[in-house]
Structure formats: C-alpha cells, structure tokens
Amino acid sequence: MKHLQTSPDTPPGSAANVRAWLLCAPALGVLALLNLQPAGKALIGGPPVPLLEELVNLATALLTVGGRAVATITPILLVEVPLAFYLAFTLHRRASAAANERLSSGILPAIVAGFSWRLIFGGGIGFLQPMSSPIATALLEVWRSLPLTVLLFHYVLRDAGLEHARAARLEVATFAQLFRRVLLPVCEPAIFLLAALRLVDVLRAFPSNGDLSHAHERAAWTLLVVVASALSLRVGRPRSTYE
C-alpha cells in the first residue's frame, strides 16, 4: 500500500511535501525570474523597479479599474441576465426534448452566429465607439450580446435539467423562489463567464488615462478577467437546493 501514501493531505516536511515543491519549482523559478526585480528586467533590458512600488501601483490600478468595471458592467448584467434567462427558460420549458436537442446542436448556434457576426466584430458599435448616452450604449451592448447569452443559458439549462425546478413548482414555489433557490445557483458559472467576457469588452473600450501606467491598468484588467474566468469554472458545481 506504499503508493497510497501520496494522498491529498501531506504532513509538513514529509517526502511528498518536498516532491510537491519540486514540482512547483520550475514554474515558480520562471515566474520569479520574470517578475522579481531586477532579474526579470535585466533579462529583457527594462529599467528595474522596486517590487513594493510595483505592488502599490498594481493595487491602485486594481481599485480604479475595479470601480470602473463594476460601474459599467452592473447595469448591463442587471438587464441582460434576467432577459436572456427568461428567453432561454421559456424556450427550454416549451420545447420538447427532441426539439431542444435540435435547437442546441444546430439551430441556435447558427442564429447566434448570424446575429452576432457583424455586431461582435463590427468596430463601430457598442463600447468600441461609445455614444453620448450611457444608457443607449448599455442597451446597445445588451442587444449585441443577448443572443450569445441566451445560447449560454440554454446550454446550462439543458445540461442541468429542470427536474429540480419541476419539483419546486410542485411544492408551490413561486417563480421568484424558483429563480433564487434553484435556477440562479445552476446559472452562476455562466454569469461569471459573462462577467469575464464583459470585462474584456470594457477593457477594450476605455483607453489608458494619464494617471496610471497602461501596463498596470492592463495588469489589473488581466487579474479581474482571470479571477472572473476562474470563478466561472470554480463555481461550476451547482448547489443542490435540498442539501
């Protein structure tokens, strides 16, 4: 049973612990070489910057960019998520299983591609060329990405199934309760994924201002997108209502 000794929990200082750090060492070495000063800068010829200053700059950028992201994304998600969810839920509930399968495999993606092709790649629409009114811009953004969001929710509902929702309905749950307790937890990963996609959009919309260096803003955006994407996968296990 010797091979079972590398179970997930390893006591401090054990051989397995050392092996784990040996596995981490190459990547940590590369990341340290690229990040810690002055080694990384010397390697690529940039000016050395104290690490502490770098971290303070990053924190400032994160606060600024985070506030901007929340202010921009919140109204969009507040409109887009309920609307897309309602459309996907209605579609899913009304169509038969076979029809849902046909929708998932071919029809919906084709419609979404047809709708989105020009809008997603068109540079003159949405955040890429903000209009005078923020509300109009937000509505245009919703219109632009709504088909994709509906498709996303459709896949989530197809994979999750509606058994829990039906059971809750039988136990006379209102739609609000159903949404809050059953459907929202199932759709959480999709919502985080949407947030990540929106963050990328917002990132492209705002050019760097003079207060922060472009590099730090980009770093803050990268961090936000990474966290939102990781959450969309991390939260991927839907919570059961009956736990």
Binding site: L4, A20, A27, L31, L34, N35, I44, A215, A220
Partner: protein, 152 residues
C-alpha cells in the same frame, strides 16, 4: 468526435492559420512563440499538478504567487518587443500562468479515490495524470501558442 480530436484539429488550424498569415519576416516570431509555448507548458504542468492534486504545506503561498503572476507578468514585460529574447520572455510571462490555470482546473476534477483505484490496478501515477490532463494540455498548448504568436 472526442474532445481530444476536436482540440487537435483546432490546434492544427491555429498553426496553419499562423503559418498562412505570416510572411517570411514572421518566421522567427513563430519559432520563438513555439519555444515559449513548449517551455511554458512544460513548467506549468507539474506546477498545476502539484496545486491541483497534492495538498502540501505552503500551497496557499504558491497559489498566491500564481495569482499575482497572472497579473504582474504582462505588466512588467509590457508589450512584446521585436527582439527574439523579448518575444520569448513575453510569451513565457503570458503563457505560464495561463497554462497553469487551465491544467490546474482540469487536474482538480479527478477524484482522489478514482486515482488511487487506478494506481491499485497497476498504472503509475504519472500515467493517470497524463491521461487525465491530456484534454487540458491539448487546449492550453494551442491557446498559449496563439497568444504568443499573435502578441495578444
């Protein structure tokens, strides 16, 4: 069609697209991108395995470094330069955290009980990990190469 086959086709398409869209002046860029991808995936995979499969002392610290590096590496290096070493370092800085995240998220999905059961049946732990992480590697490799090659 399996996910591996789809990923292979996607990888081949990306490579062909890269080759087709690049003229002769981009040749060295493709080579440095391929080298950076190889190194990034090679160092990221064991790191991700350690983070995802082993609960060791100092794991939170290693995790913190990964999260920080995800944000700070592109910032410190800025946009990719034209020199091969700059391009290589930029690709490595972008690719290593990204590949680590992708492989880590796949690595943590495999139940420990199942892994132990396969090992009891005679397979080596390395073989289990390779089989379990192949889809993630097939996604991470072309993605990192794409990012490096096109300076995204």
């Amino acid at each position: 069609m399996t996910i591996e086959r789809s990923a292979l086709i996607a990888a081949a398409s990306v490579f062909l697209l890269a080759a087709a869209s690049s003229d002769t002046s981009h040749g060295p860029q493709m080579i440095t991108a391929a080298m950076a991808t190889a190194v990034a995936v090679a160092v990221a995979t064991p790191f991700a395995i350690a983070l995802g499969r082993i609960r060791f002392e100092g794991r939170a610290f290693a995790f913190g470094i990964l999260i920080l590096a995800s944000a700070t590496s592109p910032a410190l290096l800025g946009s990719a330069g034209t020199a091969p070493l700059e391009h290589f370092a930029h690709g490595l800085a972008l690719g290593t955290p990204l590949a680590t995240w992708i492989v880590y998220l796949q690595a943590r999905q495999l139940p420990h009980g199942l892994e132990d059961a396969i090992v009891l049946d005679g397979a080596s732990r390395l073989r289990v990990w390779v089989a379990a992480l192949r889809p993630a590697l097939l996604v991470a490799t072309p993605l990192v190469f794409f990012l490096c090659a096109f300076d995204l």
